[in-house]
């Protein structure tokens, strides 16, 4: 009997020793968008082999788990952007530890004390805000503190069909596309393009769309030094500067310099089919467009593909609207082990930001922007300037997603002729201010 007890104790001790390290691992809940791709990258830890936002972020987290057996990250994916769920989770006291939040949405949660300021934690793991690009640091800083580890900056770009630009005579001697330097020049080049190619200069998603309109407006208000959010709780959009921008886009629409009635998917199809010269789209399609340009027989392969930041059309600041993705940390009571684990996770992503930049988004770190590896990625040399040009709305502006919808709706109504420009701007301003007044 005594022998049996000793044997049982020995077996139990052995089982405990052999037990998976995850039994003692610190659990972290991580919630993100970017989709799920378990079939292709569910177990991949070689990040260099991953492609796309989903593939790269899945592989990075897999690698983190593999490299850090004392921490286990439990990932939940949510439909983009996931803020309905996140708000519900905060309301029920069940928020994840780490969550992807756009820089433009950080203030919605930070202003309610729901996010942890990260300055001290990042400092403890050797990540300093000085290492961030200006665009990334400005976007992640609220009330003077960092509320999200920036992982990228993204913005809208001019994606250019170089074959059509050559046909239109809009290519410089050095082979670069000729871009306008004023609204008048833009309209003149668009007319020239239309005459020479028979196609519209722009391929835009104008149907079922709000974001594109809004980002266009913000960019060209920045370039006119318009401080439309001088008071973060009160916007001024019924201004001569805003009118100039809306009237410019209305002229583009009225004169047939843009595709019409296309939604986002339709605009992508149209650009890839060679139905227009410039698609206004984001950093996230650089990879797809580049792949098309390397595929024989495609419209972009014919004469090449180029991508540039928005041209400087006005005499004010050299700037364009930019946002970015961050890892934010929910404010809750934690053990020192949990906090340390979060620090490890953030440090890991800071150290692997180059891999994330292969998605097409711009890196959040100056060292990566200037690195040879980054510059060697397709087209990054022409868009790296966004790291300096990119500018978010003032950090204290809340409900930026909702504001985007209002601004986009009114701009769409004005540009497509459903509403008078002045009426649209007046309604835009009053609707946004009513929204902000009710926060």
């Amino acid at each position: 009997m005594k022998m049996k007890k000793m044997l049982f104790a020995a077996v139990s001790a052995g089982a405990l020793m052999l037990a998976s390290p995850s039994l003692a691992a610190t659990e972290l809940t991580v919630q993100r968008f970017f989709g799920a791709c378990d079939a292709d990258f569910g177990t991949n830890t070689d990040v260099t082999k991953a492609v796309g936002e989903c593939g790269i972020i899945t592989s990075l987290i897999n690698k983190f788990n593999a490299d850090n057996p004392d921490v286990h990250v439990n990932v939940s994916t949510v439909e983009w952007p996931g803020y309905d769920q996140l708000t519900a989770q905060f309301a029920s006291g069940d928020a994840p530890d780490i969550v992807t939040i756009h820089e433009s949405a950080l203030s919605d949660y930070q202003s309610k004390g729901l996010l942890m300021p990260l300055d001290d934690l990042l400092k403890s793991v050797g990540v300093t805000p000085d290492a961030f690009t200006d665009a990334a640091r400005n976007g992640a800083t609220k009330d003077g503190k960092i509320y999200g580890l920036p992982i990228d900056s993204w913005t809208m770009l001019y994606h250019i069909n170089m074959d059509l630009f050559k046909q239109a005579g809009l290519v410089n001697a050095d082979g670069t596309p000729m871009l306008p330097k004023s609204p008048e020049e833009l309209l003149a080049q668009a007319e020239q393009f239309k005459q020479k190619t028979g196609k519209p200069y722009f391929v835009q998603n104008l149907a079922n769309e709000t974001a594109l309109y809004t980002r266009n407006l913000y960019t060209y208000l920045f370039q006119q030094d318009s401080d439309f959010f001088a008071d973060p709780k009160h916007v001024k959009l019924n201004t001569p500067e805003a009118k100039k921008v809306v009237e410019m886009y209305k002229a583009i629409f009225d004169k047939g310099y843009t595709t019409k009635d296309l939604d986002y998917g339709g605009a992508i199809n149209a650009f890839l089919a060679g139905d227009g010269g410039v698609q206004l789209n984001g950093t996230w399609v650089v990879g797809d467009n580049n792949a098309q340009s390397e595929t024989k027989g495609t419209a972009l392969n014919k004469g090449g593909y180029a991508v540039y930041p928005y041209p400087q059309l006005f005499g004010g600041a050299h700037a364009q609207y930019a946002d970015g993705h961050t890892w934010a940390v929910s404010q809750k009571d934690r053990t020192p082990e949990q906090t340390a684990a979060i620090g490890k996770f953030l440090k890991f992503f800071a150290d692997n930001d180059f891999e994330w930049s292969r998605t097409g988004h711009l890196p959040a770190y100056k060292a990566i922007i200037t690195s040879d590896a980054f510059k060697a990625l397709p087209h990054r040399n022409t868009i790296a300037a966004v790291a300096d040009l990119g500018r978010p709305l003032p950090s204290a502006v809340q409900r930026q997603f909702a504001i985007q919808d209002i601004v986009g709706e009114e701009m769409s109504a004005a540009i497509t002729g459903q509403k008078d420009v002045d009426a649209a701007l007046s309604d835009m301003e009053s609707r946004v201010n009513e929204l902000l007044a009710n926060i």
Partner: protein, 282 residues
């Protein structure tokens, strides 16, 4: 017993025109379904470059492999079956009992209570969403099956439907059973309930369909991955621009998510047609 088939030659001209019109309408109705299936069998990158590539090879099952390969997808299917099945069963039981009570029993305040129940039809879910979420937070009902099932059990339409159906059954059946000393429950269970099968099938399938497709409440109540229903889970796997960069995958998910509903409908369509047409099932 089915009658002999009648050939088109034996039909009047008007019948032929009607038949042609019905065939045309069927094609119009089925075309989007065929389009969805076609898109689901193409590579995302190919569709992104050219949506017309759906009309020619190559075709692929990769999108279905990716759908099924999502690690939690069968857990989500299971969750949806539990929630939809539980909600359907609960609704049928409660609506049948309430319908019988309103149709056959005389009790004080019956009419007022019935009107109050009908008021529920005028209140949209969105109006009570925040309050319900807060109550469920306090009760710790989020991320549970009962948290997903309970809200749907207050089925005003179900009570209304069953009440009307019970009212249409002749009272003589009740009286005959009462003469045989049957209890009220026995009358309900043995005499009247079997006669409401068409209504129950209709209510059942619409409740199941509504629960299976529900997105808003599960989105904010089932926020842990293991408790996602199929709708929320499927949406969580999509990238931001799925409608352009992942349209094939999106369509494969739509087919996968819709297949169980199609199977359920195939089993119960007889009852639905009967209920709608007002005839009895023999």
């Amino acid at each position: 017993m089915r009658g002999p088939a009648i050939s088109i030659r034996g039909r009047a001209f008007g019948d032929r025109v009607l038949l042609a019109l019905v065939i045309l309408l069927s094609i119009v109705m089925i075309a989007p379904v065929l389009w969805v299936i076609g898109l689901s069998l193409k590579e995302n990158a190919e569709l992104m470059a050219n949506p017309n590539s759906v009309f020619h090879a190559p075709y692929t099952l990769k999108n279905y492999i990716n759908t099924i390969g999502t690690s939690s997808v069968f857990a989500w299917v299971f969750n949806s079956i539990i929630v939809s099945g539980g909600l359907t069963l609960g609704t049928l039981i409660l609506s049948s009992l309430a319908g019988y009570g309103f149709a056959r029993l005389n009790f004080p305040g019956r009419n007022i209570l019935f009107v109050i129940v009908l008021f529920g039809l005028a209140v949209p879910e969105q109006a009570v969403l925040v309050a319900r979420h807060q109550i469920f937070s306090i009760l710790k009902f989020h991320n549970t099956y009962h948290g997903l099932i309970l809200p749907g059990l207050s089925a005003s339409f179900g009570v209304f439907l069953m009440t009307q159906y019970f009212k249409a059954i002749p009272k003589e059946l009740d009286e005959a059973a009462l003469l045989d000393n049957a209890s009220r429950f026995r009358i309900f269970w043995k005499v009247l309930l079997p006669l409401t099968v068409p209504a129950q099938a209709t209510l059942g399938i619409f409740t199941f369909l509504g629960a299976w497709n529900d997105y808003l409440w599960p989105l904010i109540s089932a926020t842990k991955k293991e408790m996602y229903t199929l709708t929320v889970g499927m949406a969580s796997t999509q990238t931001n621009f799925a409608q352009s960069e992942g349209i094939g995958f999106l369509m494969a998910q739509a087919v996968f998510a819709g297949a169980p509903i199609l199977i359920v409908y195939l089993f119960f369509q007889k009852y639905i047609v009967t209920a709608v047409s007002g005839a009895a099932v023999r």
